[in-house]
Symmetry: C2
Subunit: 490 residues, 2 copies
């Protein structure tokens, strides 16, 4: 059953939450007193629809229904998750939470996006204190996985439910055991922000130089290992203890202006805003947002290939979306294999397109290769089997490009087994966008021993599955394009 | 002519410098009083050889010659760049610099890897103060592009030479105009480190939770935009000024423990080292270094595709390596086109391999697609031409996989034009590793109008170049494998 989230406040953060829930198949009720809320939300949704489906190598669930509610009580009624993203004023948040409590289901979870306030502050005067949590996300909420979950005294069931909802949205809930002003991540942001203000104010570096010092250097280290693991590796085989012995003394050196904060006056604002204009004024904010999102997608997909950090979170979500569908089934579990089999269903990601503005030719083979992998898995040549020393190598491939396709389009591959016998597997893939044929792929594979790297007989369960599918597919007409050579006239 | 760098100190940082110079074609003289310097350097060089060639889509120059020198004066004689990476003790560094000055060429540049000392401190008592610079790199030096270049009072010629050397190594020299303790980047690292120590000491978060708070969140934002551009986008269309108005007040809130540093006692070291063991003790340091490097390569390649940040630095280096070689020439510039043309020369990058431990099938088409792009460019269908609305689309592809290839191997593609006439281009690519044939690719392309997306006549200069090459290639024997279909017996 489709679940409903209530999003209270539709700014950059609330809008990001709305997009993440919607694109992961939740219905969303949105309440924001701003009469321009629809116009405010539109660009955020557009950005999310551009970027988020690119993250995974499987299609997301169908998008949920978005409803703008004129009254807060209508928004929260029936919602399983309520997320408050109002401006950062404590009394206003407390008032909103009281209204939410009065109208929501008794078992709804109420998350607050607050950057700074502690749960105990939010809960003052509340009734169901154990259901009010800090769920602090990071901009852009529809892409960045981190959510700081601060919920002292909430019972284990509430925590487990909250984590399960956030994980289902492809997020990474970090459950903090103690509450503290600004939680954890923003404390680092604040420390760096203060130091950066000093450096600009004292004329040591411009905003652009500071950004370069971060993104050309430690920013990339932190994107994958964070602080401590980075230093652990810097300590060499002696690890963390060695690193600390070496760098401990620096704490006493005058390396930061930590004892003071700069005067936050108009001069400082002018200086920084002026340098920032100089640095990036040639781009509109929406161009920058697009660049930011496409960079994040590209890096997260790189980490997904590495099954690491934010990329491992994506793989987890992908496994969960596949499980229970035909995209995870074994041949033996499929009652009917008389038709070509669905082997790929995914969006064309942003990084699959090229200078011609469409999916690059190599990515057609990528998708067909994924379809082949899926067929291998289906007949029993999965990771466990490959670990025993058997696999398939592709010997030959013939692709015919029939039509173009752009990023974001959902594509499917359906696979017919032309022959599956002994070491040989001969496959016919058709790639479609809806009913539009995009390409055909004819592939000849050989089962090999990974030790000798030579052709070898597959295990009995594979031979059996191959025979079952190829016997069923023998009744299908032979595809027109099979057995053709390059340049052959139709 | 091959240039020589002298590396003084062969630890993690000095070794990283040595690797970066060597793999970019410099000869390296290494001096380190440690009798085990060769053993100390070996793993760093191995890591660099594993990772660095993966960054670019063109082969690096041939590796330079490494010489271990028993005397400092032998190491620095004849070196154009001397890099000091001794331990962080001022007097020791000053003594080394004096020895270097006494033995080096008068126009050599002397860089120091110091994290904390200012150039004026290093230069006390030196003679050629304008040639002694801080060139502060970031670990791993062979992958991370940032070098903080601090050189007050150096003349413009010295700065320009230093920048040019570092850029040639694929690095990003950030020239700081004023000197300050710890330069710029390490001041941020120090601020975050202090706050992190407090959070662990006060039991708010473990080392693992802190790392997750960074890498699942703002770490990825900083890897591509840094601090100020990230906040500029967070301010919406109103930009930086709006952001500052919103978050300025937070400076006065108790969001960091900035007023104090924690006691750096044994208890704190035990606490942190213990948590770090818990977090990552299941991995050896060398496993972590490999993971770190492969993550960095994957992310930097993602940013390279985006031509952004650290990835834009790689594209710049790649253009410089190609320029002046056959890999940048136009057909009209080539005197002899009678043989198949070199269209690709590159290492197989780490992210091109799959679960079978070899280059993935789709990447064969990627390399053949790059070879096709290069042939298009050579006949005059380059980015400028494509911007006028004409391009080539691949209609059909036939790949025969002849042999496997692993990451790091240098591959070449040589291209024969089977036909080039009007709208049609029929290409035959052969992929080789040395003399070993890896695969053949037969490709049929059509010139199209990017407006109508239908076949169209190419411009006259393209027709002319096609005719010249296809006439020359008509004298070559027709390849055995051309015109074959999938599964056809040899």
């Amino acid at each position: 059953m489709t679940e409903t989230a209530a999003i209270i406040g539709g700014g950059v953060i609330g809008g990001g939450w709305a997009a993440r829930f919607l694109l992961n198949g939740w219905n969303v009720n949105l309440f924001d007193p701003d009469p321009h809320v629809e116009a405010k939300l539109a660009p955020v949704l557009k950005q999310a629809r551009h970027a988020l489906p690119s993250l995974l190598d499987v299609a997301l669930p169908e998008e949920g229904q978005l409803t703008f509610c004129a009254e807060l009580k209508d928004a929260v009624a029936g919602a399983a998750w309520i997320q408050e993203s109002a401006p950062e004023r404590l009394e206003a948040k407390q008032r909103l939470l009281a209204q939410i409590e009065a109208a929501c289901a008794p078992d709804a979870i109420i998350g607050s996006s607050t950057s700074g306030f502690r749960p105990s502050q939010l809960r003052e005067g509340a009734q169901h204190t154990d259901r009010i949590l800090v769920a602090h996300p990071f901009n852009p909420v529809y892409l960045i996985p981190l959510v700081e979950l601060v919920a002292p005294d909430a019972n284990d069931g509430v925590i487990a439910t909250a984590k399960s909802v956030l994980t289902g949205l492809g997020m990474f809930p970090l459950h903090l055991r103690k509450e503290i002003d600004a939680h954890v991540a923003d404390r680092f942001l604040e420390a760096v922000w203060r130091e950066a203000l000093w450096l600009v104010k004292d004329g040591i570096a411009t905003t652009e130089e500071i950004d370069d010092a971060i993104r050309m250097g430690f920013g990339m280290r932190w994107a994958q290992m964070g602080l401590f693991d980075t230093y652990r590796t810097a300590g060499g085989e002696a690890g963390m203890r060695h690193f600390m012995a070496q760098f401990g003394p620096a704490l006493k050196w005058p390396w930061t202006r930590l004892m003071d904060v700069p005067d936050f006056d108009d001069d400082l604002v002018d200086l920084i805003a002026g340098q920032s204009d100089q640095q990036s004024g040639h781009l509109t904010i929406s161009e920058m947002l697009k660049a930011r999102d496409e960079n994040l997608v590209a890096m997260m997909r790189a980490l997904k290939y590495r099954d690491w950090g934010a990329g491992a979170v994506l793989n987890e979500q992908e496994r969960s979306i596949r499980s229970g569908t035909v995209l995870a089934a074994r041949a033996g579990d499929l009652r009917d294999v008389s038709q070509p089999i669905l082997t790929v269903r995914r969006a064309v990601p942003l990084d699959w397109t090229d200078y011609n503005g469409h999916m690059n030719e190599a990515k057609y083979l990528q998708a067909f290769g994924d379809a082949t992998d899926r067929m291998m898995e289906m007949v029993g040549c999965d990771a466990d089997y490959i670990a025993t020393g058997g696999s398939y190598f592709t010997a030959e491939t013939h692709i015919r490009h029939v039509d173009e396709v752009c990023a974001g389009t959902i594509i499917e591959v359906r696979t017919q087994m032309l022959m599956g016998q002994g070491k040989k597997m001969h496959l016919w893939h058709e790639m479609l966008a809806g009913k539009r044929l995009l390409a055909t792929g004819e592939h000849f594979l050989l089962h090999v021993s990974l030790e000798t790297r030579r052709p070898s007989e597959p295990a009995a369960h594979i031979v059996e599955a191959l025979e079952r599918i190829s016997a069923a597919h023998a009744n299908l007409p032979r595809p027109d394009g099979a057995g053709r050579y390059v340049g052959q006239r139709p």
